[in-house]
C-alpha cells in the first residue's frame, strides 16, 4: 500500500503492546491459563491437507502488489459491453448509479467537500480491490459468474469512466495491471487515535459545574422525522 511496511508494523506493535498491557481482567487471564495448561504439546492432528485444486478454487483474492492476479485481459470497449449487460441496471450506464445504488465514477476532488462523493476514482486507493471485489461479489445476486477476462474488461471500463484511462482501446491485463496508479492512493494512513485523540484519556473528568451556562437544544431528531413509525414518511430519498 501507500505507507511503508515499517510504519504498518510499528502501529501493529503498538496495538499489540496495548492489548497485552491492558489485559489485567481476571476472568480473561484465568481463561488463558486454563487454555494454556490444557494445550497438548503436539498438534491435534485434526483436519486434512488441502489439495491444490481446492485451494485454487477458493483462492481468488488479489492484493495491491498483484499477488493473486490471474492471467487474462480485457479492453475498455469490451468492458463497456459487459458493464451495460451486467452492471448498468444498478450502477448506471456510466457508473453514475441508479437510485440509491452505489456510484462508481466521478466525485474527483470532493473529499474535503461538505458532501464527499466517494467513488472508485475519487476514493479507492488500490486497483486490485476493484478486481478482487467485482470477481468475488458482483453482479449483486449472481456473484462469481464473471470470467477473469470479464473482470479485467470491467476494471478497464471503470478506469475509463473515472478518466484514469483515456483510450477506449486500452487493454488491461495481468502484465500492465500494476502500472495503473489510483488518484487517491496516498491519502490513507493507519489508525492514529492513540496519538491524535490522546486527550480522551483523562485522569479525572469534570464532575461539577462543568460548563458555565445551561446547555440549549441545537438539534432534534423529531424535526428531521425519518425514524420508522414517526408520523410522516421518510424525507430522505
Amino acid at each position: 500500500m501507500s505507507r511503508s511496511v515499517n510504519l504498518v508494523n510499528a502501529c501493529l506493535a503498538a496495538a499489540g503492546a496495548l492489548l497485552l498491557t491492558l489485559a489485567p481482567v481476571q476472568s480473561a487471564a484465568q481463561q488463558m491459563t486454563v487454555r494454556e495448561a490444557a494445550k497438548p504439546a503436539s498438534k491435534l492432528g485434526l483436519g486434512r491437507e488441502a489439495l491444490p485444486e481446492e485451494i485454487s478454487a477458493w483462492d481468488i483474492d488479489v492484493r495491491p502488489d498483484g499477488k493473486g492476479l490471474p492471467p487474462g485481459k480485457g479492453t475498455v470497449k469490451e468492458g463497456d459491453q459487459v458493464f451495460q449487460a451486467q452492471c448498468a441496471a444498478c450502477h448506471g450506464e456510466f457508473g453514475e448509479g441508479v437510485g440509491r445504488w452505489p456510484v462508481l465514477a466521478g466525485g474527483h476532488g470532493t473529499l474535503k467537500a461538505d458532501r464527499p462523493d466517494k467513488t472508485v476514482g475519487s476514493f479507492w486507493p488500490d486497483l486490485s480491490t476493484v478486481f478482487d471485489y467485482v470477481k468475488r461479489a458482483m453482479p449483486y445476486g449472481n456473484a462469481q459468474s464473471l470470467s477473469n477476462d470479464d473482470v479485467y474488461a470491467l476494471t478497464a471500463y471503470l478506469l475509463s469512466m473515472n478518466d484514469i484511462i483515456k483510450d477506449e482501446n486500452f487493454e488491461l491485463n495481468d502484465k500492465n495491471f500494476l502500472s495503473i496508479k489510483m488518484p487517491n492512493a496516498t491519502a490513507f494512513y493507519d489508525d492514529d487515535r492513540e496519538v491524535v485523540e490522546k486527550h480522551f484519556w483523562i485522569k479525572e473528568p469534570c464532575m461539577k459545574n462543568c460548563r458555565p451556562t445551561a446547555p440549549k437544544v441545537t438539534g432534534r431528531a423529531v424535526s428531521i422525522d425519518v425514524t420508522p413509525d414517526s408520523k410522516a414518511g421518510p424525507k430522505v430519498d
Binding site: 501493529l12 496495538a15 499489540g16 496495548l18 492489548l19 491492558l22 489485559a23 481482567v25 481463561q31 494445550k39 498438534k43 491435534l44 485434526l46 491437507e49 488441502a50 481446492e54 477458493w58 483474492d61 492484493r63 502488489d65 499477488k67 444498478c90 437510485g99 473529499l111 474535503k112 466517494k118 486507493p125 488500490d126 480491490t129 471485489y133 468475488r136 461479489a137 449483486y140 491519502a187 490513507f188 494512513y189 489508525d191 492514529d192 487515535r193 485523540e197 480522551f200 484519556w201 483523562i202 485522569k203 473528568p205 461539577k208 459545574n209 462543568c210 445551561a214 446547555p215 440549549k216 437544544v217 438539534g219 432534534r220 431528531a221 423529531v222 428531521i224 425519518v226 420508522p228 430519498d237
Partner: protein, 424 residues
C-alpha cells in the same frame, strides 16, 4: 407512599445529589391513592388464567416470548440502504435488560443476505504461509479444545447516522448495532497451530462463504491473541443470520471483521486492502485523508431507559438503566448527568463486568416532572473517557461515518416524552 418516605428516597436519590438543579420536590401521589380506594377487579374477580388450563408441555418444543412482548423486535430503517440484503437492522436495546442479548434480537448486518448452510457441507480452509494447508469439517472443529467468552459485537457504523446531528429517535436506531452474547468455539491460534504458521506471516485474510464472500485482513498479533471461531452463541448453535455454522469472534474490534459463515483463512505477509478496508471501514477526515484499519471500538455508553422509545411514565421513583462497553478493556466507571453535562454523578454498575463486554449501569432516582437532558459517560480500564460528539467532530469532522462513540443526549420533557437531541 407517604411524603416522609418520598423525602427519604429523595435524599438517597439521584436528584438529591448536591448541586443538581431543581432537585427534591415532593411529588403528589393522589391519583394512585384514589385508585387504591376502589377494589381492583383483577384481584376480586377470578381471571381466565386462574381458572382454565394453559398449554401443555408438548405445545412449544422451542419456546418463544410471550405474545405480550411482540413489540420487542429487531427494526430496520428502509431508507438507509438500497437493498435489504445488504443492510442492517437494530437491536431493541430499550426493551432489554442485563448484558446478554437474546439471540433472536441480535442485530443483523449482511452484505448479500443470509447464507443458509448445511453444517455437513461447510468447510474451513487454512492456507498461504503455513507449513501444511488444511481443510476442516465442522466435526473436526468440534473435536478441538473449546473456549467460552462473552463479548460485544458492535458495527463500526453504529451511531454513524448521527455524525451531523440528531437524526433517529430511539436508542434502538442510534445505538442498536450492538449485541453481546456468550460465544463457544475454538481459538483461532489453535487452528493456525494445526497448519503451522510460517515466521514470515504478518496478516490473515478471513473470508465468508456467502455471496458477498466478505473478506478482511486481520493482523496476526490479534489472531494469535484472542480471536475465536465460534459455532455457538448463548448456549446453542449460531443463528443463520449470525454466521451459522461458523463465524469469527474478534473481541473489542469493529463488527465488520467478525466474518460470518467463515470458510477460508489465508495467511500472508501484507494486508489485502479489500473493499471492506478501503472503500468501506475507512474513516474520511476533514482534510480529505482517511484513517484505515481503525479496528478498536472505543468506550461508549447509552441510557436505554428513559429514551425516545421508552418515555418516563411516572413521577416519583424511576430507574435509569443503560449500557456501557469498551473495545479496549473493561468498563471502570459510568457517570450520568441530567443537566446536559454540567454536573455528573457516578452510576451503579450491576452484574458482571467483563472484558470487552456490555456492562449494565443504573441510577435509581426520583423525578418531579422537570425537563432533563440525560447523558452517560463511560470510562474504561485504560483511562479512556467517552468524549462528546463535539469533541469527536473537532478531531474528525462529520464525514468519517464509522466509530461514533460520542455522548448521547436524551431530552426528557415535562410530560415524560423523550427525544434524541443535540445540545450546545
Amino acid at each position: 407512599m407517604t411524603s416522609a418516605s418520598e423525602k427519604a428516597l429523595n435524599r438517597r436519590g439521584f436528584l438529591g445529589a448536591a448541586g443538581l438543579a431543581g432537585a427534591s420536590a415532593v411529588l403528589s401521589t393522589k391519583s394512585a391513592v384514589a385508585e387504591a380506594a376502589r377494589p381492583d377487579p383483577l384481584i376480586t374477580e377470578v381471571q381466565d388464567w386462574a381458572r382454565y388450563l394453559g398449554d401443555g408441555v408438548d405445545k412449544k418444543p422451542y419456546g418463544v416470548p410471550s405474545k405480550f412482548e411482540k413489540h420487542v423486535i429487531r427494526r430496520d430503517v428502509p431508507w438507509l440502504t438500497a437493498s435489504p440484503e445488504s443492510s442492517v437492522n437494530f437491536t431493541p436495546l430499550h426493551e432489554l435488560e442485563g448484558i446478554i442479548t437474546p439471540s433472536g434480537l441480535c442485530f443483523e448486518r449482511h452484505h448479500s443476505g443470509v447464507a443458509e448452510i448445511d453444517p455437513a457441507k461447510h468447510r474451513l480452509m487454512i492456507h498461504g504461509l503455513v507449513d501444511k494447508p488444511l481443510v476442516f469439517t465442522m466435526d473436526d472443529i468440534k473435536r478441538m479444545p473449546r473456549t467460552n467468552r462473552v463479548c460485544f459485537l458492535e458495527c463500526a457504523a453504529n451511531s454513524g447516522m448521527e455524525w451531523r446531528g440528531a437524526q433517529l429517535n430511539g436508542c434502538q436506531f442510534t445505538h442498536g448495532m450492538v449485541h453481546n452474547v456468550m460465544y463457544t468455539g475454538v481459538s483461532l491460534k489453535a487452528l493456525l497451530d494445526e497448519a503451522g504458521v510460517k515466521p514470515t506471516a504478518k496478516w490473515l485474510m478471513l473470508e465468508g462463504a456467502d455471496a458477498a464472500a466478505m473478506n478482511r485482513s486481520l493482523p496476526i498479533e490479534k489472531a494469535m491473541n484472542d480471536v475465536m471461531l465460534a459455532f455457538a452463541m448463548n448456549g446453542e448453535a449460531l443463528r443463520p443470520e449470525q454466521g451459522y455454522p461458523l463465524r469469527a469472534v474478534v473481541p473489542g474490534w469493529e463488527g465488520n471483521l467478525w466474518v460470518k459463515w467463515i470458510r477460508r483463512i489465508e495467511v500472508g505477509d501484507k494486508p489485502w486492502q479489500t473493499r471492506e478496508e478501503t472503500s468501506k471501514y475507512t474513516d474520511l477526515l476533514a482534510d480529505g485523508r482517511s484513517r484505515k484499519h481503525t479496528f478498536i471500538m472505543d468506550a461508549k455508553s447509552v441510557v436505554t431507559n428513559p429514551s425516545p422509545q421508552a418515555p418516563l411514565k411516572h413521577k416519583g421513583r424511576n430507574v435509569l438503566s443503560g449500557l456501557a462497553w469498551s473495545g479496549r478493556g473493561t468498563i471502570k466507571r459510568v457517570d450520568v448527568s441530567i443537566d446536559g453535562g454540567r454536573n455528573w454523578q457516578t452510576a451503579r454498575i450491576d452484574g458482571p463486568v467483563l472484558d470487552k463486554s456490555l456492562t449494565r449501569f443504573y441510577v435509581d432516582f426520583d423525578w418531579n416532572g422537570q425537563e432533563m437532558m440525560i447523558q452517560s459517560r463511560a470510562m474504561d480500564s485504560t483511562g479512556y473517557v467517552q468524549p462528546t460528539k463535539d469533541e469527536l467532530r473537532k478531531v474528525r469532522g462529520v464525514n468519517s461515518i464509522y466509530h461514533n462513540n460520542g455522548i448521547q443526549t436524551w431530552l426528557v420533557r415535562a410530560n415524560g416524552e423523550t427525544e434524541n437531541v443535540e445540545i450546545g
